[in-house]
Symmetry: C2
Subunit: 222 residues, 2 copies
Amino acid sequence: MYYDKIGVTVDIVIFTIKNDDLQVLLVKRKMAPFKDQWAIPGGFVRKEESLKNAARRELEEETGVKDVYLEQLYTFGKPKRDPRGRIVTVAYYALISSNRIIKPIAKTDVYEADWHSMYHLPKKLAFDHDHILDYALQRLRYKLEYTTVGFQLLPKKFTLTELQKVYEIILNKKLDKRNFRKKIASLNVLIALNETKMEGAHRPARLHSFKEKKFIFPKGVI
Amino acid sequence: MYYDKIGVTVDIVIFTIKNDDLQVLLVKRKMAPFKDQWAIPGGFVRKEESLKNAARRELEEETGVKDVYLEQLYTFGKPKRDPRGRIVTVAYYALISSNRIIKPIAKTDVYEADWHSMYHLPKKLAFDHDHILDYALQRLRYKLEYTTVGFQLLPKKFTLTELQKVYEIILNKKLDKRNFRKKIASLNVLIALNETKMEGAHRPARLHSFKEKKFIFPKGVI
DNA sequence: GCAAAAGTGTTCAATGTACACCCATGC
DNA sequence: GCATGGGTGTACATTGAACACTTTTGC
């Protein structure tokens, strides 16, 4: 049976919260196409690995981090999106707690890698990666409100103020402290620890941890 | 540059409401693999067409219908999902008003095509198509509640009772007539026509039409 | 004692849910 | 006149939004 074969890549939008900012990992390409432009990390899917494993492999190559929240975003496949030929990309996004990352790893001489603020991205990204980032931010914001993905961006122990900051940074708006805490409490997914965190000349904040190993999704939410 | 090339298909879950039932179009394979098993219609993406166009082409080949609501669902790509080799499939789902379909079209001698109730599917479908259908139903139910996709399953003019029936069939539960109408009214997307529909020995029902050409999605909902 | 962030409740508005009767028609 | 589905409103519960003061600490 004959059919056209097509290159399949995975591209990964890797989010983290750094310096009170929503940041995304970009790589600067040192080879054509789009030489010297910033892009989302990604690579070809190998014959014997699943899409998700390909994404996990790329993610680990870039960040050195395993066991990360990783979710398929969308598949982009316009015929001309890659000048090298017909290439379809399955986009994923990942959420990493900033404390887990020391430094992004640039793959040997292929490119450099660095964090960029989602709110001040380089002008024009390679391929259709502007579009992918747009879409990823939309999805992240959406899921933040209806699921507990936000917890993935924090270390195991965190204060409620830190959690609120994550929400504020991603949604890009101030939230009311009392309403926020009421909402989080109603989810019933946090354990209040008998530990506090001191930081500056004020009352110490109670540390909390996330109850569930697994994330909680309202039924049908993707 | 070397990379593994992979076959890319689109598979389409085509939903309609027929005989007060949520039905999906399946094709019976006449060739290996999965000979004589039912499958979702689909086919290989051609070199020069976008994923969505490939899906539209397949959809039209099966049903003869154009201008259909069509949305990307998810991309499935486990290495062993197709015994012929490494094939990744981008799944779509489509919603068709039953009045637009006369009869599904079986592609010449490749297979036969027929509608099946989502609630009484054949035992074991080809490939991972059970899983794809599961996922499609979840997505459909989810979007039904937060968007106006449901209107795509009705003809241009419809009664509120017909609309309610669509919701009840898909969600598989009874809804309260007054609350349903209040909710629909609050969406503000229907035009009450000066026409009625007589059907049986009772008060005729007012016909309505959908206001928007475009579908309405709350921001961020995918 | 004062600066700084932590922590905590109440009121009001909007939305969702439960529930029952009259209306227009064909026969 | 009766059987059938069409059409309508109100009371209550739940959820979301606005809003201000006391507590604990370091200096």
